[in-house]
Subunit: 406 residues, 2 copies
């Protein structure tokens, strides 16, 4: 039986991807950089199987079959992987099974609810690409595979590596230089933790696919960001990562999140992803950093917020501060759900009410109603895709997805 299962991580960008120079190949207008989050907490798990009995390529997402449209993103990724199988394996070793000629069944599950508002396309397309690479026994390194995952969903290319990952925009029309590269492995700076604040939102936001092209077409400020701001920030944040300089990393991460939302606002009609709760979280973290930046407190930032195309905050922080930050957020945004405490920071009494550093101005935000921040997810920097064993397969013997509880 030709079958392979992999899991792949979520990534959250510090330097944001917003705008395509080629919408079919998914080539971005600027480079971006992200932190890969730990698959122990958030992951997509995908099983791919090739079999002569299959009559067409099929794909199920969380147990529901997706329509693989000809020329669409899923079809492109599958076709590209079959092409690599043929070129790199079958053409080289004529004894290798000609899997490139067989149809595949692919099943993928996310272990986090869609309602969490986390972009699942990045981990999903990374897991798809990695599972087909394992099925096809490709010799390709992650950077090569990232070219394929990119054509499924741009930011998916960054989920093919662990740690701190850049997606170089590239300049070629073919897109062969628009791939991911690892700036530093998760083992270089394992101290980076992340707190995801899932924010309630009644309003359906603009999809990032259509939103980013509207920005490309209408924002006068975007071109300045692309040409002059991002190149400098890519360089500086890479240096900060290599030097494990959290203060600098935080400064750039927050500035770039805000600039991404600024160019959204500079779009016609304007695009808003953050709401009043998102802004209150910013106010709390800015105040937390203001106190931390006082000379008597060490003079360095202790947290960095960042927001993708939605109201959820992701707060990066060194491990030493994350407990304090969780308490701080839970103070202003009381939690209904019990905090899942994967690192065992809190005792049986839970988060508690927290305490404030001397000089912290509690009036920067009001205490919100319970549920304004629906849940808090604590995780950390993690590794790239993992090849799993048969026991982890999410496709059954019958070639159909297993029934899994999410």
């Amino acid at each position: 039986m030709f079958i392979a299962t992999t899991s792949a991580p979520v990534n959250i960008a510090c330097i944001k991807y917003w705008g395509k120079r080629d919408t079919k190949l998914i080539l971005p207008t600027n480079s971006s950089l992200s932190v890969t989050l730990d698959q122990d907490h958030l992951r997509s798990t995908t099983t791919s199987r090739a079999d002569a009995s299959f009559t067409k390529d099929r794909l199920w997402l969380n147990g529901v079959e997706e329509d693989i449209k000809p020329g669409g993103r899923m079809a492109t990724c599958i076709a590209e992987m079959k092409r690599l199988r043929k070129e790199l394996v079958e053409n080289v070793d004529t004894s290798a099974p000609t899997l490139s000629t067989l149809f595949v069944h692919i099943a993928s599950y996310n272990n986090f609810p869609t309602a969490a508002g986390l972009a699942s396309s990045a981990s999903g397309f990374a897991a798809l690409t990695a599972s087909l690479a394992a099925l096809y026994a490709l010799p390709s390194p992650p950077t090569e595979l990232s070219l394929i995952a990119r054509q499924g969903s741009g930011s998916a290319c960054r989920s093919l590596m662990g740690g701190f990952v850049a997606w170089n925009a590239g300049t070629l029309d073919s897109g062969v230089d628009s791939h991911a590269v690892q700036i530093a492995a998760e083992t270089h700076w394992p101290d980076i933790h992340a707190l995801i604040c899932v924010v309630s939102d009644t309003k359906k936001g603009t999809s990032s696919t259509s939103g980013m092209q509207r920005t490309v077409e209408t924002s006068p400020l975007l071109q300045h960001r692309i040409k002059h701001v991002v190149p400098q920030r890519m360089k500086t944040i890479s240096e900060a990562i290599l030097a494990k300089d959290f203060d600098r990393f935080a400064e750039i991460t927050m500035a770039d999140s805000n600039q991404f939302h600024a160019v959204c606002l500079d779009t016609s009609p304007p695009i808003f992803y953050m709401n009043d709760v998102s802004r209150a979280i910013i106010a709390v973290i800015e105040e937390y950093n203001r106190v931390a930046l006082l000379p008597e407190n060490g003079g360095k930032r202790k947290a960095a917020y960042t927001y993708d195309a939605g109201p959820n905050a992701v707060i990066y922080a060194p491990a030493a501060h994350i407990k304090e930050i969780i308490s701080l957020i839970a103070h202003f945004f009381p939690q209904q759900e019990t905090f899942k405490d994967p690192f065992g920071l809190f005792g049986p009494n839970g988060i508690g009410t927290g305490s404030f550093a001397a000089g912290f101005n509690v009036n920067v935000a009001k205490t919100w109603e319970t549920g304004a921040v629906k849940s808090l997810i604590h995780t950390k920097v993690g590794d790239g895709p993992r090849v799993l064993g048969q026991a982890d397969s999410v496709l059954g013997q019958d070639g159909l997805p297993k029934s899994l509880q999410l």
Copy 2:
């Protein structure tokens, strides 16, 4: 008795002023352009009196005495006006009373509540300048006086003229070329109406004085706006005004409001003035324009929102559409106060529930709780400062401010 009373209007910018190149002289980093609103509805009324019995310069705002700090903005304006009196009147006509040597008492009242969140500094400093100009019988045209008002509050220089007024940034260090000029009088395009939506806000915003300098110091996007975007927009919107092209006027006005808030967001720490209610008003007006832009509906925008340094919306629209817009806003933002209907648009039954154009998507915003928009003020483009008679004086015979009910 040497006394003069004037009233001066509020202005609301279409091309926003944000950033100073000289904080003492109040020289801006970019030119701006505004619509002067009708003093019949919103105004500052100021009486200035010079008398040999006065022992110091004194000023009362809404009946409360202000401290005229040496070297401060009020002291600068008063000193500059005395200088002009001496140079342009007393030095020329030696029989003229030497009012420049006398202390003044100045009383100023706004006819709109501070809680309305309207910037009163523009109308206030314009009325102060205009009343001293009347007291001192200065021959100076409004452009000359705008140089003085500008040193009180930058945007006040634009309130010295009616209609559509540009404030040219100028390039000289002395600031003598940084003054207001009238692009078109209110009589050129009297069709422009305005609806002010006063939005509740619990959070105290960043003051514009400190906020704009933080943007100058930290926003990478502001420089692009200053150098490349605003000059083009000043030209284009001036042309639109002269051509009475509301569609173009609206397009630029909304884009520039959004870009101003974008550079605020690009500031470190970020500055937010709009809240979820502000954004919902944007969504409603964008949808209203989307329908209006359909070829079968004429293909032209019918309204333009703009936001200053706060959550209030000002909606500009041709007179023909303003009734529909008031109903639209009142539908999504139910009013507690009875609408003051200065143009008699509605009958005794009030605003009513309104109706929607075919194809209007009512789901672009929810129906908010009563009071989310506290009140609606309907006004229109209006004239520059008016010299009033003794009957309108807000200083009593005793040289102290009259007790007025606001």
